[in-house]
């Protein structure tokens, strides 16, 4: 496993963890990588803020509101967190 793959797996695990309060593990596993998270999981703006808070905490990086568009799908979240 390349380090890049490992980093993406770690990022995905962090995202799953941050979404844990909103969906079951099964629901998260059935999410398509390019599905819109807020629509698929029916997250309102407060839910989304909780998600961002959690991600900020586990990654140790403050996520600004201007970054929100980059957090729209699982894939884009992973890209964002792994700095791509």
């Amino acid at each position: 496993m390349t380090s890049q793959t490992a980093a993406r797996e770690l990022a995905l695990a962090a995202i799953h963890d941050a979404l844990g309060g909103f969906a079951s593990e099964g629901e998260l596993n059935s999410l398509g990588p390019d599905e819109n998270l807020r629509e698929a999981l029916e997250l309102d703006s407060i839910d989304f803020l909780s998600f961002v808070e959690h991600l900020s905490t586990v990654t140790g990086h403050r996520i600004e509101e201007d970054d929100y568009p980059r957090l729209s799908t699982l894939n884009s979240c992973v890209d964002f967190l792994t700095g791509r």
């Binding site: 963890d17 941050a18 844990g20 309060g21 909103f22 807020r38 629509e39 029916e42 997250l43 309102d44 703006s45 407060i46 839910d47 803020l49 909780s50 998600f51 961002v52 808070e53 959690h54 900020s56 403050r62 996520i63 600004e64 509101e65």
Partner: protein
């Protein structure tokens, strides 16, 4: 002497189940104390006492479902001697069972008796019989696998037992007597993270049909009785969103405020300035609200809607309003509301912007007389000083009761919201 009756926790409630008593005869209570947990079609509600005094007799035991208005307990008010409770009042009708038959675990009467004798809640037993029916063997198995508390010494309320099963709490580890739901909650493992701070009631625990029926009855009543009129305006949020963005850049992520908070605060202040829309229509007359208690329409995961009140919303600063909003939404979704939150709203706000629609023509919650709606904040072409530019805008709508107010009053409310949102720093 006062009687504590099954409260009406909203215009759509006809009956409720006493899930748990938090007081016993002889206990002193003060107005506002939570004395019982009542299950409605929509939520388990912490019901507050309406008066101060001493609890006399408990008239309706835990687990029983009775119509609204039936006395549940007798309260001796201060200054009056705690006289013996009057004879048990005649019930309006035979109390129905705790759960609708369709939701009740399948078990034959002898099995039920067997389970009851051994203190086993059938809801916690896995049935292996035909059609998932619970057999005597299933109960026996539950008896041997479930850690048993010291027999016949401690009492555990049915609600506490059910919660313990839901939350995975070992009842043997609890020392309270009787063990109540709050003891179980205190012992429960904290939820995974703060997105849902209150303990969630599992979805299957709610009767979705009952929730749907309650909403159906209330909305039908609204459309049948209330002559609605509708107004709509589009508000430029350039100033408000710019101000909010600057503010959010300067605070920790945990103190970030979402735009909906500004819309709610502006609505509360506008309702204060246009009091004709803040209150209730009762007995063919408008009764002004005794404060701005903003009903917040909260959609539940898995369907359904509850609109609890954010009390005195006009007096809360933006950061505090945001905290209270998060907390209220979380408790609404986990089914932990108080009776006053369910009964005091004076005007309701529905924000459908998160669902991506641009506007909502709402249905008023009777007996309220107005409902404010917001759609999504979207970038749109906008004329400023004769020049075309792009601005973030939101469509604000008002559904109002024409018996209580006229269009000119409604227009004043929407225009006030617009004006307030142009000065976000003053909200």
């Amino acid at each position: 002497m006062a009687q504590f009756v099954m409260p009406s926790l909203g215009a759509d409630m006809e009956e409720g189940t006493v899930l748990e008593w938090l007081v016993k005869p002889g206990d002193s209570v003060r107005k506002g104390d939570v004395v019982a947990v009542i299950d409605t079609a929509k939520a388990a509600v912490d019901v507050e006492c309406f008066t101060s005094g001493t609890i006399g007799e408990i008239l309706v035991p835990e687990g029983e479902k009775v119509p609204v208005g039936i006395p549940l307990a007798v309260i001796a008010e201060p200054g009056t001697a705690p006289v013996p409770a009057p004879a048990k009042p005649v019930r309006a009708r035979k109390p129905t069972r705790e759960r609708p038959p369709s939701k009740k675990p399948l078990a034959s009467p002898p099995v039920r008796t067997f389970a009851a004798q051994h203190g086993i809640d059938l809801a916690t037993v896995h049935g292996t019989g035909r059609g998932g029916a619970i057999t005597r063997n299933d109960v026996a198995r539950a008896l041997t696998t479930e850690p048993r508390p010291a027999p016949a010494v401690r009492r555990i309320t049915p609600y506490a037992r059910k919660l313990a099963a839901e939350l995975g709490v070992d009842l043997a580890g609890l020392t309270a007597d009787p063990v109540r739901a709050r003891d179980v909650r205190a012992a429960a493992v904290p939820p995974r993270h703060r997105a849902e701070p209150a303990e969630p009631r599992p979805r299957e625990d709610r009767d979705d049909d009952a929730m749907r029926r309650a909403i159906a009855n209330l909305m039908t009543r609204s459309k049948r009785e209330i002559p609605h009129y509708y107004l709509s305006t589009t508000i430029d949020l350039h100033t408000a969103t710019t101000w909010l963005r600057e503010r959010n850049l300067q605070v920790p992520v945990t103190e970030r405020v979402v735009p909906a908070t500004l819309l709610l605060k502006a609505s509360a202040l506008a309702a204060k300035q246009v009091p004709q829309l803040n209150g209730r229509w009762l007995d063919n007359a408008f009764q002004p609200g005794s404060g701005i208690h903003l009903g917040i329409a909260v959609s539940l995961r898995g369907g359904g809607l509850i609109a609890p009140a954010l009390q005195d919303a006009d007096t809360l600063g933006i950061p505090e309003l945001m905290v209270r909003l998060r907390e209220l939404v979380s408790r609404t979704r986990s089914g932990r509301l108080t009776s006053s939150e369910l009964t005091t709203a004076t005007i309701t706000v529905t924000n459908l912007g998160d669902l991506g629609v641009e506007s909502v023509q709402g249905v008023i919650y009777p007996p309220q007389v107005a409902l404010i709606g917001f759609g999504a904040v979207v970038p749109r072409p906008w004329a400023v000083d004769g020049m075309l530019t792009v601005r973030p805008v939101v469509t604000a709508t008002l559904a109002a009761d024409h018996r209580a107010s006229d269009g000119a009053t409604g227009a004043r409310l929407l225009n006030t919201i617009d004006r307030l949102l142009q000065r976000p720093e003053e909200l």
